[in-house]
């Protein structure tokens, strides 16, 4: 039986197709999920894709958080289901309080779009087990509100518990505190990051294939479970 990975489409999602394609290239079965549908169609994991859900009105991810599909995603994530939030999906995870902190406007105010080097700092999450700690990967980064902020105590806690999953290498692209590009929850099943692994899964369209590891990691974990 193939492993089913759901990808949510909100109004304004942009990267749901690429996320589904990445799941397929990794060997999983992508399942399209709809924001107004509470039913997760018995998927084994969920990806919240990049884009501008609900036009980013109010705050990025703030309205998506209250969509029917998110009620089920939050409940299942608390029960241990792997959830990956990419870019806007990361913002939705923070707004949903599945991950701490918040994403704010880039400190230089520019939308940034470039290939970004990252350091993998935690290879123990559901989405990063196919990487090694300290590994460098390069995937696209594209956002206007990607500055990760949290109070000092939360930042210290994230660092001491090894919950910083990715850090930016080279110049900090958006003013994120402590160069944080991605984090995980305490259980390691929920991961959020601003860069886009789903755009780096095949040589024709991506700068590398470094992003494929996210999807192969979670597939392996689900097969073992």
């Amino acid at each position: 039986m193939t492993t089913r990975i759901g990808v949510v489409t909100f109004p304004g999602s942009l990267d749901d197709h690429d996320a589904r394609r990445a799941v397929r290239l990794a060997g999983g079965e992508p399942v399209a999920l709809w924001h107004r549908d509470r039913d997760l169609k018995q998927v084994d994991a969920v990806v919240l894709p990049g884009g501008f859900s609900y036009g980013d009105y109010l705050r990025c991810g703030a309205i998506a958080r209250f969509s029917p599909v998110m009620e089920s995603v939050v409940e299942q994530a608390r029960g241990g289901m792997p959830v990956l939030g990419i870019c806007n999906g990361f913002q939705v995870l923070c707004e949903s309080h599945l991950l701490p902190g918040a994403l704010t406007r880039n400190d230089h105010l520019h939308f940034i779009c470039r290939d970004q080097r990252l350091k993998v700092e935690n290879a123990g999450t559901a989405w990063t087990s196919d990487y090694t700690e300290g590994q460098e990967i390069t995937v696209p980064l594209k956002n206007g509100e990607g500055g990760f902020v949290a109070d000092e105590r939360t930042l210290d806690e994230l660092e001491s518990e090894g919950r910083v999953v990715f850090r930016y290498l080279g110049s900090n692209p958006n003013g994120s505190r402590r160069d944080i590009a991605g984090i995980t929850n305490a259980a390691g099943n929920v991961v959020g990051l601003m860069p886009h692994p789903e755009h780096a899964v095949e040589p024709l369209t991506g700068p590398t294939t470094d992003g494929l590891g996210f999807f192969t990691s979670v597939l392996k974990k689900l097969v073992q479970a």
Binding site: L58, R59, A62, F66, C94, E95, P100, G101, A102, T104, R105, N106, D107, H108, L109, G147, V149, A150, D151, G175
Partner: protein, 92 residues
Amino acid sequence: MARVVVDVMLKPEILDPQGQAVQRALPRLGFDGITDVRQGKRFELELEGPVDDAALARIREMAESFLANTVIEDFTVRVEESAEGTTAGAAS
């Protein structure tokens, strides 16, 4: 009809690059003497019923859970009287 105003501002310790950009533009436009600008959001809520304690408690709950993200933002809730002439500062 009763109006309740919710103001949402980034917390003082959170960088406000938009406010900074506005502040930096002011001298170019001939507005001197402004040392800092912080940009926020204002929500004007029109209420169906009376603005009693219960209604205000609900609005505070709404502000805390939705209108503001209290990780990065503070909010204030106040009642605006609807009688004419009370919109202070609106005179030109």
